[in-house]
Symmetry: C2
């Protein structure tokens, strides 16, 4: 393979960089060894002709679905041959992602279904299913949400009535709204599902419990009697996924198909409740940290495409006779993209912190110490919402920064966006999550006032406001000083939490109960949780900067990224820094100018900073973001291979167009 | 036809409304007579079985394209039979939009191509093409943008060299980047194109001129020799449109095919230049006002779907045993949707104002008075960018406010978004437009300082800052007073323009030329133009409120909408109001609370306010936004008819899934 000629504009950017992108890549991928493994996995997948196909964007939804099944099926056997390259569950997920992209058919099976069977099955059920699950002799999904019920788990309507005469559960979807809706791979692919249903036994409802339901015959894949299921129809994205619906009509399953690790129904119908209710926090935190990671890498992809393309694209002669400048040279373009680039790094570091915190708290929980569970929940909920919303908005800014070509599927942006945006809704709708974080913050503030010692991420809420303020408003201060910036964010968060908290108190003093008061103040609570999450990102970025052992040049560049992230964040919500005098108007204006002055400094390394994310072209899947920058030739090639170009004259000409164009001829 | 039962939650909202939506509908659609015509046109189209098909979301791109051709072709003949209902060009566009939706194949033909032929053709060319164009014996498109060239017209590379020997132009696409790219209906549909190319004659380049090029044979639709063209491939949206590419290789066209109304090339090659260069401002303003209208109606559609669905959707028990509240009752949901509803009305009124201003200035231009051309350009550029960006963001907020179901194609949101978002990019990329507006503002400020009288929308820039400020900061002021709110926005815009202007001056004093100084200050200039456009929307909404002759109840509701729009706008960029002390921190906090207090007042009429937009279900095309609110039953029906549900077992089972699931059996 000879290297293709690199677009000279892009090459010039790389040559001018002061940092070595590889140094940063090693940090992002946890050291040279892990990075090496990642690249070997990529080589293994992308050199395999079995994983090649025409672009997914040229396929119909049915074709995409079929391609997903095809790749997922071969990936099962191929990965067994890779030996050392797949050491753990993470490697497995990486391999599947590379091999199947976003069209994996077994994503839910590999994660949630297998996990639930491993953790919650016991006895005969475990005997029956565990090995088949691991061997892909059955394919499972996880059926929780219903047509009329999402966030509020207790509102689910599917019922499981225990019949002691036959020792079976009778499952029903009693209403239209109780139809299971959305589970991935439920419509056409899965043979089994973990179904969440209201458990009734001995005339009493015991709330939501999980049951394993076989959906389709293992002989011919036909749906079983008493079961109506199918695909829920096309969506914004995830075209290849048969997200499905399921209705149960007096469908009977053996008693042992209830997942009885934590609660049980005895043969006579006697119910035993679980020992402790909220042990699911941990898993949820882990999944949410994965969404923060997806946010970081989403922005990394978006900025990689947009920054490389902006280096190649030339537009608008500034002065007659001068060449058109690279779009990347315009301050307005830098102002769109560089803060998002800084955000990608900020989110990346905060995700590492989340995983660390998760692991510490998990250890504490195992040791019987539950003190930090709530903090962990508040942390993960807030960061999931904060980072996914920022990324959602940021990806569209990246796309539109590429002008018209960003709108073409060839840019990679449309797919990137539609596949990312559900992160704002699933695993806890963002507004609901921020309200949960806020509730914890309001409670912590109150406890802090009473002198209680608060855990790590909310410890600042026990500080005295005046003291915090003094730190943030010391004279002769340098507005680019990272420590000052962190103190400013802390002060701002504290004040937003106090403001919301006051509104809750005001509502209570009018006679509302706590639930009513929290609801009335909810708009302010969301703002407070947002300010807190923003602080966590800024503070953590700063801490990481101090910890990292890197070259001076890289350190300097990362400091610029930190400053841009923190300063730009201030200008975007400057009101919250001004309203209590934490910053003066003069200072806000100065910060606005600092942001603009940082842009050309970062520009020097912009391409290197996105190269460091180490996206292979096959992963990036963007004509605009190609490593070699040969954008225009490839756009033309891509278009020529588009399905509408199979024939010069489209069949609709004879059917509809010709009769119209020629209609006056026949009159002659 | 018996009326379907209305969802009782939705009916209750309608019964509780204090306003009559029909009164508002008459205002939106310019009176009872026009409204009646609109509804008759809708009846004509939606009662016609020829315009029915399966949902477009269930079709492949090829099928969508073919359906577009089919409907567009029959619409040509059907509309001729409608007589009085189609009186003018607007009616024609309305009819086509209803009949063909966004899949019209002749959109560019009906607007730009026909317009250019009418305005710019003369002599033999007019004789040859005008009647055929009107009769749809030829279909035309408008080929301006190129693969490497969008915003900057002078950078286009396509060449047209005049050959006096044969009296022909020789057209060429000399580079890859000169490939014409994006024109609608160019790929497969059009027989002709107006091609913009650099005109060379007698050894000299005379810049960009329009030429008519026949692309395809009128006998069999095959592309002609010397012409390579096709579809540019799938995009984020507009699946049915064959946006195309075109390469010209020594393609000869007769001299008369140049559009010679304004400039000419004589048979011997002598060039005559046009009398006046910038007469295109008018048309551009008109098209941009159409985008502002699209913004208003885009948000109207989005809020109609989201607000109706939020009235039907119940979620999360607040207190044990209580019913789950309507999502519409949550302050956080109201806070997402009601400001967008207010924005829809604000944009709607400002678009009316644009059309009025356009008509006044157009009259002045016809009378030889060019004084307001620049103002009109500044106004239309700024408002196009400001409103399309706000709508772009707002539509996604609406979609996500519907939770998971917003992500389904059945919600109507995905299509609404992808079809709207190009408005931010075409007809002038938004950032570029705001910079043009800003340049006009900086110039006006300077002239105002020198004592020049400034035209209407920028007259405030000649006021004395202290005076403006005194008006905005009078003691004992009522922060909900509309006049005060307008004054505050004026003061804020003025100060942002002054700030940006100072930065331009600072750069000039460092020795940069004007272009360089404007470029260096461009980030600040965009902010200034944004603040100015925001003011125009607020000020105009206030003026309209005073002019409208409506019932007291409606007036009160519209005043609430105005207050919400203006107050919420302040909280979203409160820093710009605080930094110069126009508002105090205490006032900003009070405004934040006013916004929250306005929400339940607006809630009473929220459904009525969206009903007033008068979207028929066929137009809204959203299961979530149905007038009758029967969301869940219809979602299930919609899913059942989805193509993946044609068979219980998908064909990929036998091909790929069965061999995997059964692989261990064969080992036995």
């Amino acid at each position: 393979m000879t290297a293709k000629r690199i677009n000279p504009d892009l090459q010039r950017e790389r040559d001018a960089a002061t940092i070595d992108p590889e140094e940063l890549t090693r940090i992002i991928f946890d050291g040279a060894k892990e990075l090496d493994k990642k690249r070997k996995l990529e080589d293994a997948v992308f050199s395999d002709p079995d994983y090649k196909s025409i672009p997914l964007n040229f396929m119909s939804r049915e074709e995409q679905y079929e391609e997903g099944i095809r790749r997922s099926a071969i990936a099962v056997t191929k990965k067994e041959a890779l030996g050392d390259l797949i050491e753990n569950h993470n490697d497995l997920i990486s391999y599947n992602t590379l091999a199947c992209g976003d069209i994996t058919a077994f994503g839910i099976h590999d994660s949630m279904f297998t996990d639930v069977i491993k953790r919650m099955s016991s006895g005969a059920l475990r005997q029956k299913l565990l090995q088949k699950t691991i061997n892909y002799e059955i394919i499972g999904t996880y059926a929780q949400t219903e047509l009329g019920h999402g966030t509020f788990l207790r509102g689910l309507e599917t019922t499981a009535h225990y019949d002691p005469n036959t020792q079976e559960f009778v499952l029903n979807s009693p209403t239209v709204t109780s139809t299971k809706w959305w589970p991935g791979a439920l419509g056409k692919t899965s043979t089994h599902a973990v179904v969440l249903a209201q458990l009734y036994t001995q005339g009493k409802c015991h709330g939501i419990h999980p049951f394993v339901v076989q959906l389709r015959s293992l002989e011919d894949h036909k749906s079983l009697p008493g079961i109506t299921l199918g695909d829920i129809g096309p969506k914004f994205g995830y075209g290849a996924n048969d997200n499905g619906f399921l209705r149960l009509n007096n469908h009977r399953i053996p008693r042992e198909n209830m997942l009885m690790k934590y609660s049980q129904v005895a043969p006579d119908g006697t119910y035993t409740k679980p020992p402790k209710a909220e042990l699911t926090y941990g898993t949820m935190t882990f999944i949410r940290s994965m969404i923060v990671r997806a946010s970081a890498f989403g922005l990394a992809r978006g900025t990689t495409i947009a920054i490389r393309y902006s280096a190649v694209r030339r537009q608008s002669e500034m002065r007659p006779g001068e060449p058109e400048p690279q779009v990347l040279s315009y301050p307005t373009q830098q102002y769109k993209l560089f803060p998002l680039l800084a955000t990608a790094y900020a989110f990346f570091f905060v995700q590492k912190k989340m995983v660390e915190t998760y692991s510490v708290v998990n250890q504490q929980i195992n040791d019987g110490d539950y003190t930090r569970i709530q903090e962990l929940h508040g942390l993960s909920s807030g960061l999931k919402a904060f980072t996914s919303w920022a990324t959602n908005v940021g990806l569209e800014i990246c796309r539109m920064s590429c002008g018209g070509h960003g709108y073409s599927m060839s840019s990679g942006f449309p797919k990137l966006y539609v596949d990312f945006t559900p992160n704002c809704t699933y695993e806890g709708e963002n507004t609901v999550l921020l309200l949960q974080t806020a509730r914890f913050l309001v409670k912590s503030l109150k406890e802090g006032k009473r002198g209680a010692k608060l855990p790590g991420t909310v410890a600042y809420l026990s500080s005295n406001v005046t003291e915090l303020r003094a730190r943030a408003t010391s004279a002769g201060r340098d507005l680019k000083d990272p420590r000052l910036l962190v103190a400013l964010y802390k002060e701002r968060a504290m004040r937003q939490i106090m403001f919301a908290s006051d509104k809750v108190e005001a509502a209570r003093s009018e006679g509302l109960d706590l639930v009513g008061a929290l609801n009335r103040a909810s708009v302010h609570l969301v703002r407070a949780a947002n300010a807190h999450s923003h602080l966590l990102v800024v503070e953590n970025f700063h801490e990481k900067l101090q910890e990292l052992k890197v070259s001076q040049k890289l350190k300097k560049t990362l400091l610029q990224m930190f400053q841009l992230y923190a300063l730009d964040g201030i200008t975007n919500c400057s009101g919250e820094f001004l309203e209590d005098g934490i910053l003066s108007g003069t200072e806000v204006k100065a910060i606005r100018q600092y942001v603009v002055e940082l842009l050309p400094l970062i520009r020097v390394n912009a391409v290197a900073l996105v190269d460091a994310f180490d996206f292979r072209d096959e992963v990036l899947d963007s004509v605009l973001g190609r490593y070699d920058g040969n954008v225009y030739e490839e756009l033309l090639k891509w278009a020529l291979s588009s399905p509408l170009n199979k024939t010069d004259v489209h069949p609709s000409y004879d059917k509809y167009l010709k009769p119209l164009l020629h209609r006056n001829r026949s009159k002659l």
